[in-house]
């Protein structure tokens, strides 16, 4: 007995979910099922037919999806109720969040089927717009991930997006789109550097230094825009990056046009996602970066320069935000408007937390928020008697629910927000 290894001393129950949380989630699931039935099934008659258009317009030959509304809604309601009952009685334990996601998806689909009863809804168009709307959110989240994984909280993403949107407009108006893009990225790098200097060199509280960046960027761009861009309109006409169809891939039925017929920024988002995942989790640099964010002292004792790692990560994070900022002008509307980012940087931060500081998670959260955004636009077209402003609030409400911890505990990098000091 004594020759074996000593017994483990830290004991925790495996997959323990409190009974209260299990019950609460069960009730939430049942509530969703009931809502599908009460709001959607009960207001639908047997003859109604839903039409989903499966191509976002153009030459895509995917045929429309047509089905009877009522049976479809009843099936969704029944499945949801069964899942809810199971959760209440037995519980899904570790899979609870997955089931929550699936049921939320059911609810959205039921809502769409109901909204499009006896009408037609362009589902493909809806998703395509969702992907586009996800771009600034996801890029903001990726910027945050890079900074926070190294231990620096970047709450200044909003300001970085806005500043880069402004500089890219002016630069692109004066020369060309590519110069605008590069200037945007450099602007992000500059702001990232400022954040790093504040947080690392002067050890300013990182929430404060990020907030300073936000206030500065808002004030400065509004001032410069009012002073110059209004007067000299030629400074505010940068043009837009064109849509690039990816040969072959864009021809895939249904998914092709949704994913592979976009401009540079959407592809940039996917590429950055892949690159960041590989770099963070499969390279030496990523391992060191994460160690600086989790246990900087351990990193230091192994000869890793914590502060330099953090500088680099924050500047690169700023560059990603800068790229995201250019999306607003060069990738979306082709001009700069005051405070045009409208809190997207903060939602990006929420997406980062929702996605548990993982790049793929950030994309998922970004797409979810993007979908709510896109849906709000469709409501008006469908003449659904819900004010679209209500649905526009949806992503923010989801954000608050997520941040309040309903989805469970997220695990931020252990050392984020604390300056590293050698003794």
């Amino acid at each position: 007995m004594t020759t074996t290894t000593a017994a483990p001393t830290r004991i925790k129950e495996v997959g323990y979910i409190s009974p209260r949380r299990q019950r609460v989630m069960g009730i939430v699931f049942l509530a969703l099922a009931t809502m599908i039935w009460v709001f959607f099934s009960r207001t639908t008659t047997g003859q109604m037919v839903t039409t989903f258009v499966m191509s976002p317009g153009g030459a895509d030959p995917t045929p429309d999806l047509i089905f009877n509304t009522l049976p479809f809604l009843n099936v969704l309601a029944t499945i949801s109720a069964v899942i809810g009952a199971y959760q209440l009685v037995r519980g899904f334990h570790g899979k609870t969040n997955t089931m929550l996601g699936i049921l939320a998806g059911f609810f959205v689909i039921a809502f769409l089927a109901w909204g499009a009863a006896d009408k037609s809804l362009n589902l493909a168009g809806l998703l395509k717009v969702a992907v586009v709307r996800a771009v600034p959110l996801t890029l903001g989240a990726l910027s945050g991930i890079l900074c926070e994984r190294s231990g620096i909280i970047n709450i200044g993403i909003e300001g970085m997006l806005l500043a880069a949107a402004f500089t890219s407009t002016v630069a692109a108006s004066l020369s060309n789109l590519w110069v605008g893009l590069i200037v945007a990225i450099l602007t992000g790098a500059l702001f990232g550097w400022v954040l790093a200097v504040f947080s690392i060199r002067y050890k300013v509280n990182q929430i404060i230094s990020g907030t300073v960046i936000n206030i500065f960027a808002t004030g400065m761009t509004s001032f410069l825009s009012a002073k110059f861009l209004q007067k000299y309109q030629n400074l505010n006409s940068p043009g837009q990056f064109p849509t690039w169809e990816i040969p072959g891939l864009s021809k895939i039925p249904f998914f092709g046009p949704i994913l592979f017929s976009h401009n540079l920024f959407v592809y940039g988002m996917f590429i950055l996602l892949i690159v960041l995942t590989i770099v963070l989790f499969h390279t030496r640099w990523g391992l060191r970066l994460r160690s600086a964010g989790e246990h900087p002292k351990a990193a230091d004792t192994l000869g890793i320069n914590v502060n330099r790692t953090r500088y680099i990560a924050t500047i690169l994070g700023g560059m990603i935000a800068g790229f995201g900022g250019a999306y607003f002008t060069l990738g979306s509307v082709g001009r700069f408007d005051e405070v045009m980012t409208a809190g997207r940087g903060f939602i990006g931060l929420a997406a980062m937390i929702f996605g548990n500081w993982m790049p793929t998670g950030a994309l998922g959260a970004g797409l979810l928020f993007g979908l709510a955004d896109s849906l709000a636009g469709k409501l008006t077209i469908l003449r659904i008697p819900i004010p679209p402003k209500f649905l526009e609030m949806a992503p923010y409400i989801v954000t608050m629910i997520v941040l309040a911890g309903v989805v469970g505990h997220t695990s931020p990098p252990a050392a984020e927000g604390t300056p590293y000091e050698k003794e």
Partner: protein, 516 residues
């Protein structure tokens, strides 16, 4: 034969103190050299200099005949010096492999991390030195004893041949500590030289080849276990004769003061940490809770003192149900609490000593009149207590955060003991204190017991539990495994129970499962 490592005249000054004063030290190849001294004697400073974390003001370091000026840990690592820190330098969310290769990563030709090759190397090292470490386990699921071996593997992975171990047994059970010494013995047999920092006399005498004692930043002397004994080493460490054994009279247990039944406590993540614990403490006795850190002691104490609400079970103090009572109600019943983390839970560090001394009585007469604080009585109280409890401080206005650990603890003891109390919860009361302060705190605890106070003592130092307690409850995995009388119980028995092995059946009490 030249020593593998030689320190000559190392001096390091910090503002106001000379942490190291012309220290000379020689480490021979293959020896285990104990560096013995109290907290604050300068051991850790010295090792941090050697490891490149500080630079010395004077003196030189010679490694294998060559002068070394380590500017950062990388230089020390390159010279073959490795250090196992007292607080482990491991990233909890990384695997063993990732932790070991961090800073010295194996990469594939494509530039990606080569976890497989690194894991194979770790397995090889683990087998060679009998370390039983799984390279793919996550640190957060790994028991402390194994974490320490991961630290050792980190050094061996980098081919270090001079190993510095800073207070390596502080977090281990006696059995784990013995395992560690076996490993250290193996390492030294295979040619590694070890400097082993400690203040535990028994370990030094049993397991080292040579002993260097430092006090107040200076080397007091170098000796061998054969020439020394505990009392000699203790007086070398402290500079005066020390009474190592606590003198105490037999206890006169009175009425039940604390009654705990079926207490279950969960942490913030809803993991059950304390699982159905029942015991009681009587007036005039000390009940010691023995156990390795992290087995539920913290949560148990927090529940009893009202800082955490239990999930289930009942607590009563002096016959009153306090299961869900607020800390203030519990304090007013006559409960005193010496918390585990004195800086976080015991004191407001930026506040002056005088205010810290009235933290739980400030709202009462004479310290307050209505909503107004009365400065004069607070000052008088502070002056009295500073003298009575021998708190070494420039003034009563000094922020408590600038005192030494021992004096901070005295402030807490003074505050808690100066009230009329009937029940005392002392959690790790001597953690991080020097021998002199430990002696002082121990005597105060015994005094309180003899005054008829019920004392619940929680400590991970088995020696302390054995010396002070009248009864000993062993906690493992959130359960109290056994309650035994202190008399007639051996350290080995308790040690086995602390590791979760029942002495009578010789089988593990429960099979703990790590969290996924």
């Amino acid at each position: 034969m030249t020593p593998v490592l030689e320190l000559r005249g190392i001096t390091k000054r910090f503002p106001g103190v000379v942490a190291n004063d012309h220290i000379d030290l020689k480490l021979e190849a293959g020896e285990i050299h104990a560096l013995l001294g109290e907290n604050g004697a300068g051991k850790t400073t010295l090792m941090n200099i050697l490891y490149g974390l500080y630079s010395p003001d004077e003196g030189e370091i010679i490694v294998k005949g060559k002068r070394l000026v380590p500017k950062s840990p990388s230089d020390a690592i390159a010279a073959g010096i490795g250090m196992v820190h007292q607080h482990f330098m491991l990233v909890p969310v990384f695997t063993v492999t990732e932790n070991v290769m961090l800073g010295d990563e194996y990469v594939t030709k494509g530039g990606l991390l080569d976890r497989k090759r690194a894991a194979a190397r770790i397995r090889e090292i683990s087998d060679k030195y009998n370390l039983f470490v799984d390279p793919d386990a996550y640190i957060k699921d790994t028991p402390v004893g194994i974490q320490q071996r991961v630290e050792i593997i980190k050094l061996l992975f980098r081919e270090a041949d001079i190993l510095i171990m800073d207070e390596p047994t502080a977090v281990l059970t006696p059995q784990e500590a013995n395992e560690l010494f076996k490993i250290m013995g193996n390492l030294s047999k295979m040619g590694k030289s070890i400097i082993f920092i400690t203040h535990k006399l028994r370990e030094v005498l049993e397991f080292s080849d040579r002993i260097t004692v430092i006090r107040g930043g200076k080397v007091v002397g170098t000796t061998t276990p054969a020439e020394a004994n505990q009392n000699l080493l203790a007086s070398m460490m402290v500079g005066r004769d020390i009474e190592l054994d606590v003198n105490k009279k037999p206890a006169h247990a009175g009425e039940k003061v604390l009654e705990v039944s079926g207490l279950t406590v969960a942490d913030a993540h809803n993991h059950l940490i304390v699982k159905g614990v029942s015991f009681d403490v009587c007036a005039g006795e000390i009940l010691g809770i023995a156990g390795v850190q992290g087995n539920g002691q913290t949560e148990l104490v927090r529940a009893i003192t009202g800082l955490m609400h239990p999930v289930d079970g009942k607590i009563s103090i002096l016959g009153q149900d306090t299961t869900r009572a607020a800390p203030k109600e519990i304090i007013e019943l006559g409960t005193a609490h010496i918390p585990e983390d004195r800086q976080k839970d015991g004191l407001v560090l930026p506040y002056p000593i005088m205010d810290n001394l009235v933290l739980n009585t400030f709202y009462k007469s004479p310290f307050a009149r209505g909503a107004m604080m009365q400065e004069q009585p607070i000052r008088e109280n502070a002056n009295q207590l500073v003298e009575r409890f021998d708190i070494r401080t420039p003034s009563i206005e000094t922020p408590v955060g600038s005192l030494s650990g021992g004096n901070q603890q005295k402030v807490i003891v003074a505050r808690e003991f100066s009230r009329p109390i009937k029940f005392l919860v002392a959690s790790q009361p001597t953690r991080g204190l020097d021998v002199g302060s430990i002696e002082y705190i121990h005597n105060r605890l015994i005094e309180k017991r003899d005054d008829g106070c019920a004392v619940l003592l929680v400590s991970t130092e088995l020696d302390e539990i054995m010396q002070l307690s009248d009864r000993i409850a062993v906690i493992f995995g959130g359960k109290i495994i056994k309650i035994l009388p202190a008399k007639g119980t051996t350290k080995e028995e308790i040690g086995l129970l602390m590791a979760g092995v029942d002495t009578e059946t010789q089988t593990p009490v429960s099979q703990p499962v790590p969290v996924g």
